[in-house]
């Protein structure tokens, strides 16, 4: 096994933290967007119901 230099090691560490950040933020974003969508849908329905009454 050839030994890599310290800077190359740092690149891998940066890549890991970047990818984990993207993964976590992506999942969080997906969950939050879904949450907003359903809340908006429910609110719209409730508003319609109030008008119809």
């Amino acid at each position: 096994m050839e030994f890599l230099s310290l800077t190359e090691f740092t690149h891998y560490v940066t890549a890991v933290y970047t990818l984990v950040t993207i993964g976590v933020l992506g999942l969080t974003g997906y969950i939050l967007i879904n949450s907003q969508k359903q809340r908006a849908r429910l609110r719209r329905l409730q508003a319609n119901k109030a008008i119809n009454k």
């Binding site: 096994m1 050839e2 890599l4 310290l6 190359e8 090691f9 740092t10 891998y12 560490v13 890549a15 890991v16 933290y17 990818l19 984990v20 993964g23 976590v24 992506g26 999942l27 969080t28 969950i31 939050l32 879904n34 949450s35 359903q38 809340r39 849908r41 429910l42 329905l45 409730q46 319609n48 119901k49």
Partner: protein, 256 residues
């Protein structure tokens, strides 16, 4: 605990708790990351040891989420607890994401440490299989439309998976030692106390992240079901009204 079976109670309870959960998660991540980048580096691996702080918690979360998911499914199956089913359903994508992150960080660690992106190492292989099991579980919820039925079927999938996880781990380790010697062990280097603290904080941060995301997902699921129920009611009213007006129209025509 059982009071939470009521979705309205859960919405109220989780609405109060959620801001605190999110603040705790963010605080733990800030503290943990600060500790990670000030902790001393491992003598052997240098900067690479910093990968451990996200790799290990992801791996733990990927496995813990599966166990949680199966337990939630059991609760739903035995006590007909709809919230438990929702918890199981929504834990799966989170667990799958962390299984994937474990694989990716493992590969990025393997390249500089072992000299190759992928080795069929026992642990990497087990996590890979766990990821496939998550995909199968998520597929069940997507292909079976009736959610009550899907929950019951998903319980069987989770239960069979849970029984098999130890068997799979054992066999993969057997197979691995049969085909190749252990690639690299870091057990020689003892963990420095400040590294351990940083690692424990990261474990806590990931656990709180999972809990927050799960709470938000379950709230979304409850809202979705409520909206769906309202839409169905409106649809039924519309149909009833249309029926009435058609009948009226037919009655009006009759004198001809």
């Amino acid at each position: 605990m059982f009071g939470l079976a009521n979705p309205t109670k859960f919405m109220r309870f989780s609405g109060i708790l959620l801001p605190y959960l999110i603040i705790t998660t963010l605080g733990l991540f800030g503290w943990g990351l600060y500790m990670v980048f000030t902790a001393p580096e491992d003598y052997l691996q240098g900067p690479l040891s910093r990968i451990l702080y996200v790799h290990a918690p992801s791996a733990y979360l990927a496995q813990a989420a599966y166990v949680f998911m199966a337990l939630a499914n059991f609760t739903g199956y035995i006590w007909r607890h709809p919230l438990a089913d929702m918890a199981a359903k929504n834990a799966a994508p989170i667990g799958a994401t962390f299984a994937l992150l474990t694989i990716i960080t493992g590969m990025l660690w393997g390249k500089p440490a072992w000299g190759t992106w992928w080795v069929w190492d026992a642990r990497l292989t087990s996590v890979f299989i766990l990821f496939i099991m998550y995909l199968g579980y998520i597929a069940i919820w997507q292909v079976i439309e009736d959610q009550v039925k899907a929950a019951r079927v998903a319980t069987i999938v989770a239960a069979v998976g849970l029984i098999n996880i130890p068997i799979i781990k054992f066999s993969v380790e057997w197979w691995n030692t049969l085909h190749q010697p252990a690639s690299l062990t870091t057990s020689g280097s003892a963990i420095h106390p400040s590294m351990l603290t940083a690692l424990l904080i990261m474990f806590a941060a990931f656990t709180f992240l999972f809990t927050s995301l799960l709470f938000i997902s379950i709230r979304t699921e409850i809202n979705r079901r409520r909206a769906r129920a309202m839409e169905m009611r409106i649809l039924q009213q519309n149909i009833a009204q249309t029926n009435l007006s058609t009948r009226a129209a037919i009655n009006n025509q009759e004198p001809d």
